[in-house]
Symmetry: C2
């Protein structure tokens, strides 16, 4: 507790803890997807302000134990989706195979000045343009990820495809580009206030972020993408061979971090 | 800004922003590893309290732009280490190949009751015991990760090996177990206050967390590990083949999330 927060602050902090402990018991005993008491119900039960009730719920959301669906209340968080290792399915394809309905909210799609990361990833000169597509990726109504794709301007015709209900990679194949290999890296970072709002998360929630470059069948880098997943809703499976005690010298990673 | 925080609060918030903007300029113009002004210097320059100076630095640390080395001050953050894809090197081996000196601080190593996650991962009955080894993994003096390893009790003899300076996998090989394949998943979450302290991070910093099960050459699950990396210091490289439009049905992920 911060010094100088005073007696009232201390008392409020104790109340959060009581409410959190109570909610944790409900969560432990319950099942993913089960509705939790509303902020109004919590506030009434514990005779606290709605602000105090909300704070307790937000803490559990940041831990990933609780999820919120806009307009529908709070729920025990579903187990996160696992992306299987080795194969990159398009988001649409991946969700369909799980029996979920994929959709996207288009934030923007237009020609823009390439960032220095885009130029590095796609081997472009300074200055260059790229086609930038920003979407919220949604499964059964729950926002899973924010995605920013930068494509070579040769791929501009893909903007005529339906990128809200359809797959970008299907669109690229239609116009003659064959996405073949993806390489990149995974990191964790905190959501900005804007990102959190779009993903229906409390601010400063953790994100699992994948940066990747996709090559076509000729080894041409055509796509540079950052996908920022809500950490409580998506995890990435991995499979590794354990190195024997003696092996070939370490090769540097293929790309510098953003 | 929270309502009721008052004029003084607002003024302090504006000061953070000024200090942050100033530090961002230094960071943009500087190089990884370069020392940044101390909290005392910042406080003097901007005529603010040391608390206010610290808050600005903490914000930039949470973003991963600044790193702290205990006793040595704050620095422009190094680019994070990339783990190459496909092959699991032991931490010690991986660091040596990069020219860094690996070490570990042992937190505890003893027989414990297996958690339900341990039992699931290692195929154990309830109740069972496991050998639990908790270490802080360090590279050139910087803490990179917290690791909790649970081993079958058959591996207990590995506790006689030097696990502070040596490799656990080398130790397992010495006593007749051959770590062969690792499978698991990567997720992001926030550090607890205790984890943050051990990793020399501000509380609620993001962590990149890998959970994995390691099998020996006979397919026996011998090790269940959670490694929580400081997100600003470590990222994981991936390589994926893009799936063609039509492919085999989706196979469920091998394991349920923790």
């Amino acid at each position: 507790m911060r010094a100088g927060q005073g007696k009232a602050g201390e008392k409020a902090a104790l109340r959060y803890q009581e409410i959190e402990a109570w909610l944790r018991e409900i969560i432990m005993a319950g099942r993913p997807g089960q509705a939790l008491p509303s902020e109004v119900e919590i506030a009434t039960n514990f005779e606290v302000s709605r602000m105090t009730a909300r704070q307790a719920v937000l803490n559990l959301m940041r831990e990933g134990l609780v999820d919120r669906r806009r307009g529908a209340g709070t729920f025990i968080a579903d187990n996160p989706l696992h992306r299987r290792e080795g194969v990159l399915l398009s988001f649409s394809e991946d969700m369909k195979r799980r029996g979920l309905t994929p959709s996207s909210t288009m934030i923007s799609s237009k020609k823009e000045i390439a960032t220095s990361e885009d130029r590095n990833a796609l081997g472009l000169k300074d200055p260059s343009s790229v086609i930038v597509i920003k979407r919220i990726r949604i499964a059964d109504g729950t926002p899973l990820a924010l995605e920013r794709v930068a494509l070579l301007t040769q791929c501009a015709a893909v903007l005529n495809e339906d990128l809200e209900n359809g797959s970008l990679h299907d669109g690229l194949r239609k116009i003659g580009f064959q996405p073949t290999v993806a390489s990149g890296w995974l990191k964790a970072r905190l959501a900005t206030a804007q990102e959190a709002r779009k993903l229906d998360l409390p601010s400063k929630s953790p994100l699992l972020v994948e940066t990747r470059v996709i090559e076509d069948e000729n080894g041409l880098a055509i796509e540079h993408t950052e996908t920022a997943y809500a950490a409580n809703r998506y995890v990435v499976d991995i499979k590794l061979n354990c190195a024997p005690a003696v092996m070939a010298p370490f090769k540097a990673a293929p790309m510098a971090p953003a």
